[in-house]
Symmetry: C2
Subunit: 335 residues, 2 copies
């Protein structure tokens, strides 16, 4: 996504520098030679300057904005590396998603950055339905820039928007971050039905998928509210929009499909590995989310979340999980 | 959907009678001979008794509940036919969707029935994501039964639910009815992006589709609230759930796709006709919805609805419509 963002930024006439960690060197080589970016399938604009891991200081010299697009696991270490280089007021736009355990505590991406680099009011968190490949192809994309500092984010919006990249602003950072993590977990459960359908080689189960999708949004709204965010955040691009794009293809849904087909969790993870599709974010996040919200939510209001959790980590059979969700909701009368 | 509902009802041990209008005679013949129902692909349970158009009185003798599953255009005439036959307290469950012009006035399905048959507190309106074929195959389906009479609907729920058919109850009848009509209109606009993608033979536009989906829910919530319903209805099975199932295949999305491919509206309608896929509900409903909400909403809050309307009836080019929606939202700052 960091690479994809260079496209609208160059289109807006900004000077863009693309720095990579040691894990990105191969990709940087391809970009430097003018080849297609292997993940997003486009040529990165020629005007983008490439910086290798050792050139971090050069890359950050006199910059106006930092965009942090490393993986969630890299956010703490890169924050440590840049904290003494960048100006104390330089805005930091965070693209990384998920939760990470830092010193025994589960933290969101902005919480990690805030703890390492001072100045929470310069942090902006991007959320919403945004497949990097589509953005890089200049396909219409609408996202949310979330910040406690609405004035800052208004200014960034003015500098970053293009005809195809539109930015909504919101001050509910925690709500947006929770949506970005939760959607991966719920996408797994929605994917189960594709597995059932595939196994019996029959009709798609659109009724059930759509019902679980609606239930996911209901549960996300409840979790976000309990954790100090706003329900409205879930009912917009960050929640509904991003959950939808995530369920339309993607690793979490595919992993859910394998589980729906009857694969035990470890076998489903292995299938994913063999296909080389990388980490299943929802699987990793589910365990951390479980701890993150523990004691702060009424579990009876989250039948889908806890059933999905039990399938992933407690050996609950997926058909039993679906039955459990249906029966729990049915007893609620209104769901 | 009327035929599909016989499956859970027979499974619950109820005596079910299936009556058809003159338009249904061919289907009744197939069912009577034990063949597969041509629309939903299953054999209707043997225990269901078939009644031909002329046998309406016999079909309604000593019944406990009427389920009204005719097309929206037939609701008024069938209501007239049954009003003096059924008991004054017999509950009426309405499956029909949409708006109809009756005596120069635009009315919802329950409004039509209420005007013809007295006793609004015995009316139940079904909403939510429910493809008839999937329900008839006993695939998990979760719906909403809406009624001003919550006690009645609680009782019906107890009698109708099965392991695979779950019923949520809600007292927001107008909200549910508006969702059922609006979703068809928004599904057309979401389908545009499939047309763009098809035309250039390129990537799917999932970012844009998901953003428009989120915007559709936002606009539906606003319309429902302005018309006296509840936003929460839109954020559940009736709104999010049903819009999702509608965008996943279906006539409205296909019609939207043809428009996205560049077909003028009349040509797109002709394409649909040639494929024999029947009426495009969203097209028919859009014009009535326009009148229904006119003067009761702030148009600036509904850029997607009015852009879709202008594409369908005012000759607005679809690419200009998308640009208009993006730019209008962008100016709002928060969307």
């Amino acid at each position: 996504m960091g690479s994809a963002l260079t496209v609208p930024l160059v289109d807006r006439g900004h000077e863009v520098r693309l720095w990579g960690t040691k894990y990105d060197v191969k990709i940087l080589d391809v970009i430097a030679k003018g080849g297609l970016h292997p993940r997003i399938g486009v040529k990165i604009p020629d005007l983008v300057k490439i910086y290798y891991p050792e050139d971090l200081k050069k890359a950050l010299k006199d910059i106006d904005v930092v965009i942090l697009g490393v993986s969630s696991a890299g956010v703490a270490s890169v924050s440590e590396q840049i904290k003494d280089i960048i100006d104390r007021k330089t805005p930091i736009v965070i693209v990384a998603k998920g939760l990470e355990e830092v010193g025994g505590e589960i933290l969101t991406m902005t919480q990690i950055v805030e703890r390492i680099i001072e100045g929470g009011d310069r942090i902006i968190y991007i959320s919403g339905p945004s497949i990097a490949k589509e953005l890089a192809h200049r396909y219409a994309t609408m996202v949310v820039y979330n910040s406690k500092n609405l004035k800052l984010v208004e200014n960034i919006k003015k500098e970053f928007e293009t005809t195809y990249y539109k930015i909504s602003i919101n001050d509910d950072v925690i709500g947006a971050e929770l949506c970005a993590s939760l959607k991966n977990i719920y996408a797994i459960a929605i994917g189960w039905f594709d597995g059932f359908a595939k196994k019996r080689n029959g009709l798609e189960m659109n009724n059930a998928k759509s019902a679980f999708f609606a239930q996911a949004i209901k549960e996300m709204a409840y979790i976000v509210e309990q954790m100090g965010g706003k329900r409205e955040t879930v009912y917009g691009l960050s929640g509904i929009g991003d959950l939808l794009v995530t369920t339309r293809g993607g690793r979490n849904g595919m992993f859910g499909m394998f589980i729906g087909m009857g694969f035990p969790v470890d076998k489903a993870l292995k299938e994913m590995e063999e296909r080389g599709v990388g980490v299943v974010e929802g699987y990793v996040t589910a365990e951390m989310m479980y701890k993150f919200i523990n004691g702060k939510v009424d579990k009876s209001r989250l039948p889908l979340f806890y059933s999905a959790y039990e399938v992933l980590f407690k050996g609950l059979q997926v058909l039993d999980a679906v039955e459990k969700v249906l029966n729990t909701l049915s007893k609620l009368s209104t769901f």
